[in-house]
Protein backbone atom coordinates (compact mmCIF):
# COMPACT_ATOMS: atom_id res chain seq x y z
CA UNK A 1 0.00 0.00 0.00
CA UNK A 2 1.42 3.40 -0.90
CA UNK A 3 0.55 6.30 1.30
CA UNK A 4 0.22 9.69 -0.36
CA UNK A 5 2.60 10.98 2.27
CA UNK A 6 6.24 11.09 3.12
CA UNK A 7 7.81 7.82 4.17
CA UNK A 8 8.07 7.99 7.95
CA UNK A 9 11.85 7.94 7.80
CA UNK A 10 11.57 11.33 6.14
CA UNK A 11 11.99 13.85 8.96
CA UNK A 12 9.17 16.35 9.42
CA UNK A 13 11.61 19.23 9.69
CA UNK A 14 13.40 18.44 6.46
CA UNK A 15 10.05 17.92 4.78
CA UNK A 16 8.83 21.32 5.94
CA UNK A 17 12.04 22.99 4.84
CA UNK A 18 11.87 21.44 1.40
CA UNK A 19 8.22 22.37 0.97
CA UNK A 20 8.91 25.94 1.98
CA UNK A 21 11.77 26.11 -0.51
CA UNK A 22 9.58 24.68 -3.25
CA UNK A 23 6.79 27.19 -2.60
CA UNK A 24 9.28 30.05 -2.42
CA UNK A 25 10.77 28.92 -5.73
CA UNK A 26 7.35 28.71 -7.38
CA UNK A 27 6.50 32.17 -6.13
CA UNK A 28 9.75 33.78 -7.25
CA UNK A 29 9.82 32.04 -10.61
CA UNK A 30 6.17 31.83 -11.63
CA UNK A 31 4.43 34.36 -9.35
CA UNK A 32 1.93 31.87 -7.87
CA UNK A 33 1.94 32.32 -4.12
CA UNK A 34 1.04 29.14 -2.25
CA UNK A 35 3.17 29.98 0.76
CA UNK A 36 0.22 30.62 3.05
CA UNK A 37 -1.98 27.73 1.99
CA UNK A 38 -3.16 25.35 4.71
CA UNK A 39 -0.27 22.98 5.20
CA UNK A 40 -1.81 19.56 5.85
CA UNK A 41 -3.76 19.24 2.62
CA UNK A 42 -1.12 21.04 0.53
CA UNK A 43 1.48 18.56 1.72
CA UNK A 44 -0.81 15.70 0.83
CA UNK A 45 -1.30 16.94 -2.71
CA UNK A 46 2.42 17.50 -3.16
CA UNK A 47 3.22 13.94 -2.10
CA UNK A 48 0.58 12.57 -4.44
CA UNK A 49 2.24 14.36 -7.32
CA UNK A 50 5.71 13.24 -6.18
CA UNK A 51 4.64 9.58 -6.04
CA UNK A 52 2.69 9.77 -9.30
CA UNK A 53 5.82 11.07 -11.03
CA UNK A 54 7.94 8.29 -9.59
CA UNK A 55 10.00 10.69 -7.47
CA UNK A 56 10.92 10.32 -3.82
CA UNK A 57 11.69 13.79 -2.47
CA UNK A 58 10.14 17.25 -2.54
CA UNK A 59 13.44 18.60 -3.81
CA UNK A 60 13.26 16.34 -6.85
CA UNK A 61 9.86 17.83 -7.66
CA UNK A 62 11.26 21.30 -7.17
CA UNK A 63 13.99 20.63 -9.67
CA UNK A 64 11.45 19.65 -12.30
CA UNK A 65 9.01 22.43 -11.57
CA UNK A 66 11.60 25.17 -11.85
CA UNK A 67 12.94 23.92 -15.16
CA UNK A 68 9.75 22.91 -16.90
CA UNK A 69 6.73 25.20 -17.19
CA UNK A 70 4.52 22.26 -18.13
CA UNK A 71 5.28 20.55 -14.85
CA UNK A 72 4.26 23.79 -13.15
CA UNK A 73 1.02 23.92 -15.09
CA UNK A 74 0.13 20.43 -13.95
CA UNK A 75 1.11 21.18 -10.38
CA UNK A 76 -1.10 24.26 -10.51
CA UNK A 77 -4.00 21.97 -11.39
CA UNK A 78 -3.08 19.70 -8.45
CA UNK A 79 -2.77 22.53 -5.98
CA UNK A 80 -5.77 24.56 -7.01
CA UNK A 81 -8.32 21.73 -6.45
CA UNK A 82 -10.99 22.56 -8.98
CA UNK A 83 -13.67 20.24 -7.59
CA UNK A 84 -17.07 21.87 -7.97
CA UNK A 85 -20.70 21.15 -8.87
CA UNK A 86 -23.89 22.83 -9.95
CA UNK A 87 -26.08 23.77 -7.02
CA UNK A 88 -23.61 22.29 -4.56
CA UNK A 89 -25.52 22.72 -1.28
CA UNK A 90 -29.04 23.25 -2.67
CA UNK A 91 -30.14 24.76 0.65
CA UNK A 92 -27.68 27.58 0.09
CA UNK A 93 -29.24 28.49 -3.24
CA UNK A 94 -32.69 28.23 -1.75
CA UNK A 95 -31.69 30.64 1.01
CA UNK A 96 -30.13 32.95 -1.56
CA UNK A 97 -33.39 32.94 -3.52
CA UNK A 98 -35.53 33.56 -0.48
CA UNK A 99 -33.40 36.02 1.45
CA UNK A 100 -30.86 37.66 -0.83
CA UNK A 101 -32.96 38.11 -3.98
CA UNK A 102 -35.58 40.33 -2.27
CA UNK A 103 -32.77 42.65 -1.14
CA UNK A 104 -31.19 42.70 -4.58
CA UNK A 105 -34.51 43.59 -6.19
CA UNK A 106 -34.31 46.99 -4.55
CA UNK A 107 -31.15 47.85 -6.53
CA UNK A 108 -31.24 49.24 -10.06
CA UNK A 109 -28.13 47.27 -10.93
CA UNK A 110 -26.45 44.29 -9.25
CA UNK A 111 -22.78 43.39 -9.42
CA UNK A 112 -21.75 39.91 -8.30
CA UNK A 113 -18.28 38.42 -7.92
CA UNK A 114 -17.67 34.67 -7.90
CA UNK A 115 -14.16 34.45 -6.51
CA UNK A 116 -12.64 31.04 -7.22
CA UNK A 117 -15.33 30.03 -9.70
CA UNK A 118 -13.42 27.00 -11.01
CA UNK A 119 -15.00 25.46 -14.13
CA UNK A 120 -18.09 27.64 -13.85
CA UNK A 121 -20.78 25.32 -12.45
CA UNK A 122 -21.47 27.82 -9.70
CA UNK A 123 -21.70 30.67 -12.19
CA UNK A 124 -24.27 28.88 -14.35
CA UNK A 125 -26.22 27.97 -11.24
CA UNK A 126 -26.40 31.61 -10.22
CA UNK A 127 -27.16 32.91 -13.72
CA UNK A 128 -30.10 30.50 -13.97
CA UNK A 129 -31.34 31.54 -10.54
CA UNK A 130 -31.16 35.25 -11.36
CA UNK A 131 -32.84 34.65 -14.72
CA UNK A 132 -35.72 32.85 -13.04
CA UNK A 133 -36.08 35.64 -10.50
CA UNK A 134 -36.19 38.26 -13.26
CA UNK A 135 -32.97 39.86 -12.04
CA UNK A 136 -30.51 38.75 -14.64
CA UNK A 137 -31.00 41.65 -17.06
CA UNK A 138 -29.73 44.09 -14.49
CA UNK A 139 -26.99 41.89 -13.15
CA UNK A 140 -23.35 41.56 -14.07
CA UNK A 141 -21.39 38.57 -12.85
CA UNK A 142 -17.60 38.70 -12.55
CA UNK A 143 -16.22 35.20 -12.33
CA UNK A 144 -12.56 34.80 -11.45
CA UNK A 145 -10.09 32.07 -10.67
CA UNK A 146 -6.34 31.72 -10.27
CA UNK A 147 -6.29 29.01 -12.89
CA UNK A 148 -6.71 30.00 -16.53
CA UNK A 149 -7.36 26.46 -17.68
CA UNK A 150 -10.55 26.15 -15.66
CA UNK A 151 -11.79 29.52 -16.89
CA UNK A 152 -11.37 28.38 -20.45
CA UNK A 153 -13.41 25.31 -19.59
CA UNK A 154 -16.06 27.46 -17.91
CA UNK A 155 -16.57 29.60 -21.00
CA UNK A 156 -17.47 26.57 -23.11
CA UNK A 157 -20.53 25.90 -20.96
CA UNK A 158 -20.14 22.16 -21.55
CA UNK A 159 -20.48 19.85 -18.58
CA UNK A 160 -20.46 16.06 -18.23
CA UNK A 161 -23.75 14.57 -19.29
CA UNK A 162 -23.63 11.90 -16.60
CA UNK A 163 -23.84 14.57 -13.91
CA UNK A 164 -27.11 16.01 -15.16
CA UNK A 165 -29.32 13.68 -13.18
CA UNK A 166 -27.61 14.69 -9.98
CA UNK A 167 -27.67 18.37 -10.91
CA UNK A 168 -31.34 18.20 -11.82
CA UNK A 169 -32.15 16.92 -8.34
CA UNK A 170 -30.06 19.65 -6.75
CA UNK A 171 -31.67 22.28 -8.98
CA UNK A 172 -35.11 21.18 -7.82
CA UNK A 173 -34.07 21.17 -4.18
CA UNK A 174 -32.54 24.61 -4.68
CA UNK A 175 -35.98 25.94 -5.61
CA UNK A 176 -35.60 25.84 -9.40
CA UNK A 177 -38.74 26.99 -11.15
CA UNK A 178 -38.56 25.39 -14.55
CA UNK A 179 -37.40 22.13 -15.95
CA UNK A 180 -33.63 21.94 -15.69
CA UNK A 181 -33.31 20.37 -19.13
CA UNK A 182 -34.54 23.61 -20.69
CA UNK A 183 -31.10 25.05 -20.05
CA UNK A 184 -28.99 22.60 -22.01
CA UNK A 185 -28.97 20.31 -24.98
CA UNK A 186 -27.39 16.91 -24.82
CA UNK A 187 -24.52 16.83 -27.28
CA UNK A 188 -21.78 14.47 -28.25
CA UNK A 189 -19.31 16.10 -25.83
CA UNK A 190 -21.72 16.52 -22.96
CA UNK A 191 -24.48 18.80 -21.80
CA UNK A 192 -24.12 22.04 -23.73
CA UNK A 193 -25.57 24.91 -21.76
CA UNK A 194 -27.33 27.77 -23.39
CA UNK A 195 -24.52 30.30 -23.73
CA UNK A 196 -26.93 33.19 -23.56
CA UNK A 197 -26.72 32.46 -19.85
CA UNK A 198 -23.25 33.95 -20.07
CA UNK A 199 -24.33 37.18 -21.74
CA UNK A 200 -23.76 39.15 -18.53
CA UNK A 201 -20.79 37.20 -17.27
CA UNK A 202 -17.18 38.36 -17.40
CA UNK A 203 -14.50 35.72 -16.78
CA UNK A 204 -11.04 36.83 -15.72
CA UNK A 205 -7.96 35.43 -14.11
CA UNK A 206 -7.51 36.83 -10.62
CA UNK A 207 -5.36 35.65 -7.76
CA UNK A 208 -6.88 36.36 -4.37
CA UNK A 209 -3.46 36.25 -2.75
CA UNK A 210 -1.60 38.69 -4.93
CA UNK A 211 -4.16 40.72 -6.93
CA UNK A 212 -6.16 43.68 -5.78
CA UNK A 213 -9.78 44.63 -5.68
CA UNK A 214 -11.08 45.61 -9.11
CA UNK A 215 -14.61 46.93 -8.54
CA UNK A 216 -17.30 47.45 -5.94
CA UNK A 217 -19.77 44.61 -5.60
CA UNK A 218 -23.21 44.04 -4.14
CA UNK A 219 -22.55 40.33 -3.72
CA UNK A 220 -19.32 38.38 -3.30
CA UNK A 221 -19.44 34.59 -3.36
CA UNK A 222 -16.31 32.77 -2.30
CA UNK A 223 -17.20 29.20 -1.49
CA UNK A 224 -14.77 26.43 -0.65
CA UNK A 225 -11.77 28.46 -1.71
CA UNK A 226 -10.51 29.93 1.53
CA UNK A 227 -10.56 26.52 3.20
CA UNK A 228 -7.27 26.07 1.34
CA UNK A 229 -5.74 29.12 3.02
CA UNK A 230 -4.19 29.36 6.45
CA UNK A 231 -5.80 31.66 9.01
CA UNK A 232 -3.61 34.62 8.35
CA UNK A 233 -4.20 34.51 4.61
CA UNK A 234 -7.93 34.06 5.17
CA UNK A 235 -7.87 37.27 7.13
CA UNK A 236 -6.06 39.12 4.39
CA UNK A 237 -8.54 37.93 1.78
CA UNK A 238 -11.42 38.89 4.05
CA UNK A 239 -9.89 42.37 4.04
CA UNK A 240 -9.97 42.35 0.25
CA UNK A 241 -13.62 41.27 0.21
CA UNK A 242 -14.63 43.77 2.84
CA UNK A 243 -13.14 46.65 0.89
CA UNK A 244 -14.71 45.35 -2.36
CA UNK A 245 -18.25 45.20 -0.99
CA UNK A 246 -20.70 48.06 -1.08
CA UNK A 247 -22.33 48.99 2.19
CA UNK A 248 -24.95 46.32 3.00
CA UNK A 249 -23.37 44.14 0.34
CA UNK A 250 -23.57 40.38 0.78
CA UNK A 251 -20.78 37.89 1.38
CA UNK A 252 -21.46 34.19 0.82
CA UNK A 253 -19.05 31.55 2.10
CA UNK A 254 -19.03 27.77 1.84
CA UNK A 255 -21.38 25.97 4.18
CA UNK A 256 -18.57 24.95 6.54
CA UNK A 257 -16.69 28.22 6.52
CA UNK A 258 -17.32 30.58 9.38
CA UNK A 259 -16.56 34.26 9.64
CA UNK A 260 -16.18 33.68 13.39
CA UNK A 261 -12.51 32.78 13.14
CA UNK A 262 -11.58 35.94 11.26
CA UNK A 263 -11.10 39.55 12.34
CA UNK A 264 -14.16 40.60 10.35
CA UNK A 265 -16.94 39.06 12.37
CA UNK A 266 -18.32 42.35 13.71
CA UNK A 267 -18.32 44.03 10.29
CA UNK A 268 -21.12 41.74 9.16
CA UNK A 269 -24.46 40.51 10.36
CA UNK A 270 -25.78 37.12 9.34
CA UNK A 271 -28.48 37.15 6.70
CA UNK A 272 -28.61 33.38 7.03
CA UNK A 273 -26.17 32.05 9.61
CA UNK A 274 -26.60 28.37 8.66
CA UNK A 275 -25.99 28.99 4.97
CA UNK A 276 -23.16 31.42 5.73
CA UNK A 277 -24.64 34.43 3.97
CA UNK A 278 -23.50 37.65 5.64
CA UNK A 279 -24.34 41.30 5.17
CA UNK A 280 -21.82 44.06 5.53
CA UNK A 281 -22.93 46.54 8.16
CA UNK A 282 -20.28 49.21 8.34
Amino acid sequence: MTLPDAPTTYGAEVERLEIELLLEGIYRHYGFDFRSYAYASLKRRLWKRIHADGLSTVSALQERVLHDAQVMERLLLDLSVNVTAMYRDPTFYRAFREKAVPLLRTYPFVRLWHAGCSTGEEVFSMAILLEEEGLYERARIYATDINELVLRQAKTGIFPLEKMQDYTQSYVRAGGKRSFSEYYTAGYDGAIFNTSLLRNVVFAQHNLVTDRSFAEFNVILCRNVMIYFDRELQNRVHGLFYSSLSNFGLLALGSKESIRFTGYEDRYEPLDATEKIYRRIG
Binding site: M1, L3, P4, D5, T8, A12, A38, Y39, A40, S41, K43, R44, R45, V81, V83, N224, M226, I227, Y228, D230, R231, Q234, G254, S255, K256, E257, S258, R260, F261
Partner: protein, 197 residues
Protein backbone atom coordinates in the same frame (compact mmCIF):
# COMPACT_ATOMS: atom_id res chain seq x y z
CA UNK B 1 -1.03 19.52 29.91
CA UNK B 2 -0.55 19.53 26.15
CA UNK B 3 -3.72 18.75 24.27
CA UNK B 4 -4.13 15.27 22.86
CA UNK B 5 -6.47 13.99 20.20
CA UNK B 6 -8.38 10.77 19.66
CA UNK B 7 -9.41 10.17 16.04
CA UNK B 8 -12.11 7.64 15.25
CA UNK B 9 -13.04 6.07 11.92
CA UNK B 10 -16.29 4.23 11.29
CA UNK B 11 -18.17 3.09 8.23
CA UNK B 12 -21.00 0.58 7.73
CA UNK B 13 -22.65 -0.11 11.08
CA UNK B 14 -20.94 2.88 12.65
CA UNK B 15 -23.87 4.66 14.23
CA UNK B 16 -24.46 2.20 17.04
CA UNK B 17 -20.73 1.82 17.72
CA UNK B 18 -20.19 5.58 17.80
CA UNK B 19 -23.15 6.12 20.10
CA UNK B 20 -21.79 3.58 22.53
CA UNK B 21 -18.36 5.15 22.36
CA UNK B 22 -19.34 8.78 22.98
CA UNK B 23 -21.84 7.79 25.65
CA UNK B 24 -18.94 6.43 27.69
CA UNK B 25 -17.08 9.74 27.94
CA UNK B 26 -17.64 12.16 30.81
CA UNK B 27 -17.32 15.93 30.90
CA UNK B 28 -13.96 15.88 32.68
CA UNK B 29 -12.32 13.87 29.89
CA UNK B 30 -9.05 15.67 29.08
CA UNK B 31 -8.90 14.81 25.38
CA UNK B 32 -10.51 15.96 22.15
CA UNK B 33 -12.29 13.48 19.90
CA UNK B 34 -12.63 13.74 16.12
CA UNK B 35 -14.80 11.35 14.11
CA UNK B 36 -15.02 10.38 10.46
CA UNK B 37 -18.13 8.36 9.70
CA UNK B 38 -18.67 7.46 6.05
CA UNK B 39 -22.09 8.69 5.04
CA UNK B 40 -23.99 10.20 2.14
CA UNK B 41 -23.75 13.83 1.17
CA UNK B 42 -27.25 14.52 2.42
CA UNK B 43 -27.16 12.94 5.85
CA UNK B 44 -27.34 15.64 8.49
CA UNK B 45 -28.78 13.72 11.41
CA UNK B 46 -25.62 12.06 12.74
CA UNK B 47 -24.58 15.02 14.86
CA UNK B 48 -27.90 15.06 16.72
CA UNK B 49 -27.99 11.31 17.14
CA UNK B 50 -24.60 11.44 18.83
CA UNK B 51 -25.43 14.52 20.89
CA UNK B 52 -28.51 12.74 22.24
CA UNK B 53 -26.31 10.23 24.05
CA UNK B 54 -23.20 12.31 24.75
CA UNK B 55 -22.34 14.35 27.83
CA UNK B 56 -19.76 16.20 25.75
CA UNK B 57 -20.78 18.78 23.15
CA UNK B 58 -20.86 17.29 19.63
CA UNK B 59 -20.38 19.60 16.64
CA UNK B 60 -19.72 19.37 12.94
CA UNK B 61 -16.38 21.02 12.26
CA UNK B 62 -16.14 24.41 10.61
CA UNK B 63 -12.99 25.19 8.68
CA UNK B 64 -10.07 26.43 10.87
CA UNK B 65 -11.91 25.62 14.07
CA UNK B 66 -9.67 25.31 17.09
CA UNK B 67 -9.28 21.90 18.71
CA UNK B 68 -10.45 22.03 22.33
CA UNK B 69 -10.44 19.23 24.89
CA UNK B 70 -13.77 17.88 26.10
CA UNK B 71 -15.31 18.28 22.65
CA UNK B 72 -16.51 15.78 20.08
CA UNK B 73 -15.91 16.88 16.49
CA UNK B 74 -17.55 15.34 13.48
CA UNK B 75 -16.33 15.55 9.88
CA UNK B 76 -19.09 17.23 7.84
CA UNK B 77 -20.50 15.15 4.98
CA UNK B 78 -18.70 15.61 1.66
CA UNK B 79 -15.57 17.25 3.15
CA UNK B 80 -12.26 15.77 4.19
CA UNK B 81 -11.31 16.66 7.75
CA UNK B 82 -7.63 17.38 8.45
CA UNK B 83 -5.62 18.36 11.49
CA UNK B 84 -3.24 21.29 11.08
CA UNK B 85 -0.21 21.59 13.29
CA UNK B 86 -1.67 20.92 16.70
CA UNK B 87 -4.14 23.73 17.08
CA UNK B 88 -6.91 23.52 14.60
CA UNK B 89 -8.80 21.61 11.93
CA UNK B 90 -9.09 22.37 8.27
CA UNK B 91 -11.50 21.05 5.67
CA UNK B 92 -10.97 20.21 2.02
CA UNK B 93 -13.03 19.13 -0.97
CA UNK B 94 -10.14 17.30 -2.61
CA UNK B 95 -11.16 14.19 -4.53
CA UNK B 96 -12.51 11.26 -2.48
CA UNK B 97 -9.87 8.79 -1.32
CA UNK B 98 -10.78 5.13 -1.61
CA UNK B 99 -14.16 6.39 -2.76
CA UNK B 100 -14.69 8.24 0.49
CA UNK B 101 -15.01 11.87 1.41
CA UNK B 102 -14.55 12.31 4.30
CA UNK B 103 -11.75 9.77 4.34
CA UNK B 104 -10.52 8.15 7.54
CA UNK B 105 -6.94 7.92 6.22
CA UNK B 106 -6.85 11.64 5.50
CA UNK B 107 -7.87 12.48 9.08
CA UNK B 108 -5.61 9.87 10.67
CA UNK B 109 -2.50 10.70 8.68
CA UNK B 110 -2.79 14.42 9.32
CA UNK B 111 -3.46 13.75 13.02
CA UNK B 112 -0.35 11.54 13.17
CA UNK B 113 1.77 14.29 11.64
CA UNK B 114 0.38 17.05 13.83
CA UNK B 115 0.04 15.26 17.17
CA UNK B 116 2.73 12.55 17.05
CA UNK B 117 2.69 10.59 20.31
CA UNK B 118 -0.35 12.53 21.50
CA UNK B 119 -2.58 11.00 18.84
CA UNK B 120 -4.74 7.92 19.37
CA UNK B 121 -6.47 6.22 16.43
CA UNK B 122 -9.56 4.04 16.76
CA UNK B 123 -10.91 1.94 13.89
CA UNK B 124 -14.47 0.65 14.23
CA UNK B 125 -16.88 -1.38 12.08
CA UNK B 126 -16.93 -1.00 8.30
CA UNK B 127 -16.95 -2.69 4.92
CA UNK B 128 -13.75 -1.33 3.36
CA UNK B 129 -10.13 -0.80 4.33
CA UNK B 130 -10.12 2.96 4.90
CA UNK B 131 -8.23 3.84 8.08
CA UNK B 132 -5.69 1.01 7.99
CA UNK B 133 -2.96 3.13 6.40
CA UNK B 134 -3.72 6.06 8.66
CA UNK B 135 -3.64 3.92 11.78
CA UNK B 136 -0.25 2.56 10.71
CA UNK B 137 1.01 6.10 10.40
CA UNK B 138 -0.28 7.08 13.85
CA UNK B 139 1.68 4.23 15.42
CA UNK B 140 4.78 4.97 13.33
CA UNK B 141 4.72 8.54 14.62
CA UNK B 142 4.57 7.35 18.23
CA UNK B 143 0.80 7.39 18.80
CA UNK B 144 -1.53 4.63 20.04
CA UNK B 145 -3.88 2.36 18.11
CA UNK B 146 -7.18 0.76 19.09
CA UNK B 147 -9.15 -1.58 16.85
CA UNK B 148 -12.63 -2.91 17.46
CA UNK B 149 -12.57 -6.70 17.82
CA UNK B 150 -13.93 -7.77 14.41
CA UNK B 151 -16.08 -10.40 16.14
CA UNK B 152 -18.03 -7.56 17.81
CA UNK B 153 -18.29 -5.44 14.66
CA UNK B 154 -21.45 -5.20 12.58
CA UNK B 155 -19.15 -5.40 9.55
CA UNK B 156 -15.72 -6.84 10.18
CA UNK B 157 -13.78 -5.89 7.03
CA UNK B 158 -12.49 -2.55 8.21
CA UNK B 159 -11.24 -3.56 11.67
CA UNK B 160 -9.67 -6.66 10.12
CA UNK B 161 -7.77 -4.55 7.61
CA UNK B 162 -6.64 -2.22 10.40
CA UNK B 163 -5.44 -5.14 12.48
CA UNK B 164 -3.46 -6.50 9.57
CA UNK B 165 -1.81 -3.14 8.97
CA UNK B 166 -1.14 -2.58 12.69
CA UNK B 167 -0.58 -5.95 14.38
CA UNK B 168 0.49 -4.21 17.59
CA UNK B 169 -2.87 -2.39 17.94
CA UNK B 170 -4.95 -2.93 21.06
CA UNK B 171 -7.91 -5.02 19.90
CA UNK B 172 -10.96 -4.60 22.13
CA UNK B 173 -14.58 -5.66 22.03
CA UNK B 174 -16.78 -2.64 21.33
CA UNK B 175 -18.03 -2.55 24.91
CA UNK B 176 -14.50 -2.14 26.28
CA UNK B 177 -13.45 0.74 24.02
CA UNK B 178 -15.18 3.62 25.87
CA UNK B 179 -13.56 2.54 29.15
CA UNK B 180 -10.17 2.33 27.47
CA UNK B 181 -10.54 5.81 25.97
CA UNK B 182 -11.82 7.23 29.25
CA UNK B 183 -8.51 6.28 30.86
CA UNK B 184 -6.43 8.21 28.33
CA UNK B 185 -4.45 11.14 29.70
CA UNK B 186 -2.42 12.98 27.10
CA UNK B 187 0.39 10.86 25.76
CA UNK B 188 0.34 8.33 28.61
CA UNK B 189 0.00 4.77 27.40
CA UNK B 190 -3.07 2.91 28.54
CA UNK B 191 -2.55 -0.84 28.99
CA UNK B 192 -4.67 -2.97 26.69
CA UNK B 193 -6.98 -4.70 29.16
CA UNK B 194 -9.80 -6.99 28.15
CA UNK B 195 -8.37 -7.25 24.71
CA UNK B 196 -7.14 -10.02 22.46
CA UNK B 197 -3.47 -9.22 22.40
Amino acid sequence: MEPALVVVGASAGGLRALQLLVAGLSTDWPMALAIVQHRSRESQALCELLQDVSALPVTEVNDKEEIAVGQVYLAPPDYHLLVEDEHFFSLSVDAPERWSRPSIDVLFESAADAFGDRAVGVVLTGANSDGAGGLRRIVDQGGQAVVQDPATAEVRVMPEAARRAVPEACVLPLEAIPGHLANLRGRNRVPCVGGLR
